[in-house]
């Protein structure tokens, strides 16, 4: 991602913004839910308190009515004012309502509960004390009314009511609502600020990683992302990315070394070739010298071609596509053919080249490449085994793998070299390899071929005892053994 794109990225699309948004929304929702719960809880408990107070009052009112049921209403009213006067505050009203006649009397001179038509509050047709909320048209606050039916002798049925003005309660609830809104506004503001700050803080390592990663290139592959070392996820991520960078650095180093080595390996024969051609162009040469120079040039040229082919093969193996032409064939035949091919050379060097324990194993592989693999191995073994030595080739089936061992009793390879023998251009003994014509690619080609087939190649060696190379290739399931040792000497 280019920095220009990053700059032009809107704040709205950042993780920081989205985290803040979520965080604020969640805070707001929980705050609102809490406020609603508290509001309803408060209003319910207030009403219940009012209700129980009213029920007590209405009962007392009723008992007075029952005691004085033969008195006139005016007397009763006076009595009630006398009896209950101490409780008559501005917010409590006692009323007596007839079933047909409407309001008989009210302790409040300005009773607002009575409508203009005199019908008054609704008459409840239930015996027990029942509480209802009335909203008179002329006031902004409601009344809580508790009604109880009373039967007055000779006068029929009446409702004794105690009404409570709810203005205080309503004011409390309104205050609570305002407070809630204010609290929610403050919570929103705080959560936005906290969200931005916290998200920014937790995402700061990401920002740092982005900045560092943006300028890591071929020139500074050794640089690493800063780690917080606090064991959190971003620290893990930085660690993993650092490991990846380390791998890339290592492989990049390998490629660089490979390229440098390849250039060196190509330059040397090129320089020699050029020298020879220049010498040949020198007219003081006689014809024999000419011929010899040209023949040597041809040899140099062949070396160059071979290195080019080897490099091409390795490059193709690295690219890993279209590399193999798979075929099913018997590996034993191939090994026998190769041993036959090299038997003359072995004979020439007075080395015993023997096939041991040949097992018929079919493999799905690229026959040409497999021949190349084993011819490289045989070539190596014969090159480094002194006259009178012995090279053996053995086969075995090993857990669905065809195993081929090429052993020699040559001088062996020192342990410090073993780990590197399959590296490109690695030479155990540079001087000797050069005289025998290798350029240090043979074994790495073997490894590339083996690995391209899903196989492995390993080498074990002991100084003055010998070297053993083991190649394992995926085998086809079919077993038949022929235990015929054949010697080519």
């Amino acid at each position: 991602m280019s920095s220009k794109q990053v700059e032009s990225r809107r704040f709205g699309s950042t993780i920081r913004f989205r985290l803040t948004l979520w965080w604020t929304a969640i805070t707001l929702c929980s705050c609102a839910a809490l406020c609603l719960l508290l509001y309803f809880g408060l209003s319910y408990s207030l009403r219940r308190e009012v209700d129980s107070f009213l029920k007590g009052e209405v009962q007392e009112f009723t008992s007075i009515l029952n005691e004085e049921e033969h008195h006139s209403f005016a007397e009763i009213e006076a009595d009630i004012r006398h009896e209950l006067g101490s409780r008559l505050r501005g917010d409590l009203t006692f009323r007596l309502v007839g079933e047909d006649a409407g309001l008989v009397f009210s302790s409040d001179a300005h009773d607002v509960l009575t409508n203009d038509d005199g019908a008054g509050t609704q008459v409840v047709d239930v015996e027990g004390p029942v509480c209802t909320t009335e909203q008179p048209a002329s006031t902004s606050w409601p009344y809580r009314v508790c009604s109880q039916q009373v039967d007055l002798a000779n006068r029929g049925r009446y409702q004794a009511q105690a009404a409570y003005r709810m203005d205080q309660v309503a004011a409390s609830l309104t205050g609570f609502r305002r407070l809630s809104v204010a609290a929610m506004a403050i919570a929103t503001g705080l959560s936005v600020v906290c969200g931005v700050v916290l998200a920014g803080k937790s995402l700061r390592p990401v920002q740092q990683m982005t900045n560092t990663a943006r300028h890591i290139g071929a020139q500074n592959l050794a640089e690493r992302l800063a780690r917080s070392r606090n064991g959190d996820e971003l620290d893990d991520l930085a660690g993993v990315l650092n490991e990846m960078l380390a791998r890339i650095e290592r492989q990049f180093g390998e490629v660089q070394r490979f390229t440098a080595d390849a250039a060196h390996e190509l330059r040397t024969p090129l320089a020699a070739l050029r020298c020879r051609v220049e010498l040949a162009l020198d007219h003081q040469c006689d014809e024999n010298e000419w011929r010899q120079l040209l023949e040597e040039s041809l040899g140099q040229f062949d070396t160059l071609s071979r290195i080019t082919n080897d490099l091409l093969l390795l490059a193709r193996a690295d690219a890993g596509r279209n590399f193999l032409n798979l075929d099913r064939f018997d590996l034993t035949e191939t090994i026998r053919d190769l041993v036959d091919l090299y038997s003359a050379t072995a004979n020439e060097h007075r080395i015993e080249l023997v096939c041991e324990r040949m097992v018929a194993i079919e493999v799905d592989a690229d026959a040409m490449r497999i021949r190349q693999l084993f011819s490289n191995l045989l070539d190596n073994a014969l090159k480094y085994t002194p006259p009178g030595g012995r090279v053996t080739v053995g086969m075995a089936r090993y857990e669905n793998k065809a195993e081929v061992r090429v052993c020699d009793n040559g001088p062996g390879i020192a342990p410090e070299h073993i780990a590197h023998v399959f590296d490109r251009f690695y030479r155990v003994d540079a001087a000797r390899t050069r005289t025998t014509g290798g350029c240090g690619l043979g074994l790495s080609i073997c490894r590339s071929i083996a690995e391209a087939h899903g196989g492995t190649i390993t080498m074990a060696s002991r100084l003055d005892v010998g070297t053993e190379v083991v190649v394992r290739l995926p085998a086809n399931r079919k077993v038949s053994t022929t235990d015929k040792p054949t010697a080519h000497t």
Binding site: L312, A367, M368, S375, G437
Partner: protein
Amino acid sequence: MRALVVEDDRDVAALIERGLQEALFAVDKAGDGETGLHLACSAQYDVIVLDLMLPKCDGLSVLRAMRGRGITTPVICLTARDAIDDRVRGLNAGADDYLVKPFSFVELLARVRAVLRRGPTQIDNPIVVGDLAVDVIAHTVERAGQKIELTAREFSLLEYLARHAGEVVSRTMILERIWDMNHDPQTNVVDVHINRLRRKVDSNFDAPLIRTVRGTGYVLQAG
């Protein structure tokens, strides 16, 4: 003999032309696939040397088009790409042989001669080269009336040389035909086999039959 060289690199084309002319071929050149196909269809050639990487129309398409029109002239493909891949595709498309760049001209000439010899020519049995007689049916070899004992592999090697008597066969051709090897091992494995064969065929006689062509290969020739 008339040869067509289809090759876009002028240097390479000129070198092949010069070499083939020295070998007494009449040579036509084409610098791209279309011209090559046009020439191959309009004139009678004995052999066609065809580069696979060509402008306008690549070598494999030229080859398929040619074979599609019933032209059976032997074709040798030249390729700078991966040997095996192109070999398989080239041979599938109807090529008679192939050669990987960089190649030696002597080897190209050897392969040209080999494909010219292939086909209708019937080989007599036994094949006689000077005082050497190779019986390819009975698998026996005699020189000046003396029987020579050869291993199976030595016999195939000698038979191959005898079938191409008088022609140069390169080390890679020998590796391909006798050991089915498609790459050149770095050591001189073929030379060692030839030397062993020489010891049996030539060492007890005055005139050597197997001669080395330096830098290229071998030739079996009398006199």
